[in-house]
Point group: C2
Chain length 210, copies 2
């Protein structure tokens, strides 16, 4: 069963963690991009590897046993800093900064570089699915209808180029524990991928669940 | 239009690049995991950031202008080392090692750690979609029916826990430029996510296209 960990940091400490780990994860994101694109001599690459391994060993001297999970603040909001799409501390996440609206909308402007490539120069079709799953789920949550993905359908209308993109999602309708959401990605030439998803409130989160 | 770059390395050089960049990207993957899980003092994190920025600057002294793309070897096989799922040089990719069968099957055993988290302790629903898109597309390609994703449908049957997983995909049927593929992810308790996709041979890759 998912673990939502009660917050162990004060608001001031959370701010300091954000100010430290945000730029740190950005530096690792930049290293990820350079790992893919560098053309320096292989000896230089090997030297860099040894240095990176030493840094990682230092960071691992004290660490969580498992993944980051979601930390709950006193205000009842989750801090999903390990999330693959929006996680401040997850270098795999672009990360998306999502603007939510309580009417059940979620919108984000973001940039995808070399690490998100599938076909040459294009966003991996699965990366589009990854981002849309997050946005549709967040639209549902923003509208007070949180849930886990039940089904997700994607229609690829045109190729999505790497670069600056926009994603939009909204609640279509809801019924009991089920919420249907829709959304799309927009590139320089308009909508590239359309998505439709069903989100279901998990049993452990329903009223009366222990 | 996608660029498939002709190979500029000899087979021996490709081997050396593989032997260098494989372990290098693994070291960056390990750093990504530590970035999410470390609990060392914030001063240590800031010190590590400065070192990482220096390494990245060295790697960027010489680099590709854009993403990695797909390099074609003399044998006509693509080297998709930048790919978000299977890319040897892409620290975002687990990376999946996919066993392909010319009957149109693609299978992979892989491990997903903290960086692939959505709900606490669970694989992000969008990450499952990302991996299945890649496997279904590779099954189509393995069967001689390569294509770009046209539609993708996912059904989430149970939560997918982080850890050791298996993915399987196969061609269901094909017709002219269209190929339908299916697949699923398997966790410790059986199938977690089912997928069905339509893959379409792009116009620029059809016989007679210039």
């Amino acid at each position: 069963m998912p673990r939502y960990v009660p917050e162990d940091l004060s608001p001031a400490e959370i701010d300091e963690h954000r100010a430290t780990f945000g730029p740190f994860a950005d530096a690792v994101r930049d290293l990820v991009d350079a790992t893919i694109r560098t053309t320096v001599d292989l000896d230089e690459v090997r030297a860099a590897q040894a240095e990176i391994e030493a840094i990682t060993a230092r960071l691992r001297r004290r660490q969580l046993d498992g993944p980051f999970g979601v930390r709950m603040s006193e205000a009842g909001r989750g801090r999903a800093w390990g999330n693959s799409v929006i996680g401040l501390r997850n270098p795999l996440a672009p990360p998306l900064v999502v603007v939510e609206d309580p009417s059940g909308r979620a919108v984000s402007d973001f940039h995808l570089g070399a690490a998100y490539e599938g076909p040459p120069g294009l966003v991996h079709g699965g990366v589009s699915a990854l981002i849309l799953d997050q946005l549709l789920g967040q639209a549902a949550g923003a509208g007070g209808r949180p849930g886990m993905t039940g089904t997700l359908r994607l229609r690829y209308r045109q190729a999505t180029p790497l670069g600056d993109l926009r994603g939009e999602a909204w609640i279509e309708r809801s019924e009991s524990i089920k919420t249907w959401a829709r959304g799309h990605l927009i590139g320089p030439e308009g909508v590239t991928v359309e998505a439709e998803g069903l989100f279901i409130l998990p049993a452990w989160a329903r009223p009366g669940a222990s």
